[in-house]
Symmetry: C2
Subunit: 234 residues, 2 copies
Amino acid sequence: MERKLLYEGKAKRIYEIKDKPGLYIQEFKDDATAFNGLKKEQIKNKGILNTSITTALFGYLMKNGIPTHFVEKISNTEMIVKRVKIVQAEVVCRNIAAGSLVKRYGIEEGKELKPPIVEYYFKSDELGDPLFTEAHIYELGLATPEELDHIKELTLKINSLLKTFFAERKLLLVDFKLEYGKDDEGNIILADEISPDTCRLWDSETRMKLDKDRFRFNLGGVEEAYEEINKRLS
Amino acid sequence: MERKLLYEGKAKRIYEIKDKPGLYIQEFKDDATAFNGLKKEQIKNKGILNTSITTALFGYLMKNGIPTHFVEKISNTEMIVKRVKIVQAEVVCRNIAAGSLVKRYGIEEGKELKPPIVEYYFKSDELGDPLFTEAHIYELGLATPEELDHIKELTLKINSLLKTFFAERKLLLVDFKLEYGKDDEGNIILADEISPDTCRLWDSETRMKLDKDRFRFNLGGVEEAYEEINKRLS
């Protein structure tokens, strides 16, 4: 397929496809960054593993009625996706306290959150992806109240589906980040990826971290953790 | 009145009163701090001016049906207030973009916000008073959904009252911070203060800043600005 690079992010590239104006190729890279780009390395095979994990999880969600941008996996590191306009609010859903929730508010790591907490972050590298609220999202014109209600509802449904899916594989879904997009018909659909780059996943019994926190905090065994997740999903 | 210091904050002291267990004395200091205590100075007569301004504004709000902790002004720098347990969520209401809204989200200073934006900040010097959301407030147990709905409703009503009051005095109410408390009967009432320390106030015509931003950003004429506000309120 003839393609043209449209956008290169920290962990992925997006290409336009010639003769298929409604579709993009999403390619996963081995590059890993943390702390808003301050820490930057490569994780061997991450592109392959995250492609495998994301396509498996998107397939599962679609079978359960969640609309996503996923069309087809075309190689080890590439999937075809629907063209969307990304909503510039990243959505984080938390089941267990970790990461910035611990650092920002002093909540104890590992505390179960009941109900789950949904947060929004302004997708802006320049501003450091700051936390913001529904009121800011409306003021910035990033989504309407109806769209955001729908996004929140989809997020809680996805959370419920993923929690069950991971629990069956002896994994705790601690928290995860989603991005949504608007397709050509104006429908809000799930976009981006779901992988150990964007989820915190702990082993249910040992509570061992099997996600990007191993990279963030130099815990070692980063590739092995991603491989373990992929193995449990297959 | 025999008194015992209960709490000393950055700009005020709170005393228990012997023989009056339901009441406190709130004393305003000349001390001014900014940027989470990094900048620290004294502003001459600030205690006197903020006592005068706060008691005038609380009196006006109470006449208009807003429950507050204000009981009586007893000296140039002191007011008697009802004993409350402070809700550890500071409430900020914004009519015009300024301050952290500009810095955090890149919204242009001076832009009118429609509708006004209500934000919550975790009252914690240690954590640097971070922005948080209703979900965090419930998780931290700082207020119930019913209490927070009531706080938001009161805040918007106060905003509307204050905007009118200031407009009649050729002042723009850009934004302001409120603190609420629970009285002995469990009622949510307005507490703390309302002054140029806690409001951004601009002259309606010249848009000159007449508030603590003059201190924060070394604009000069700090005492004069507080005096001008007090003069326009009398």
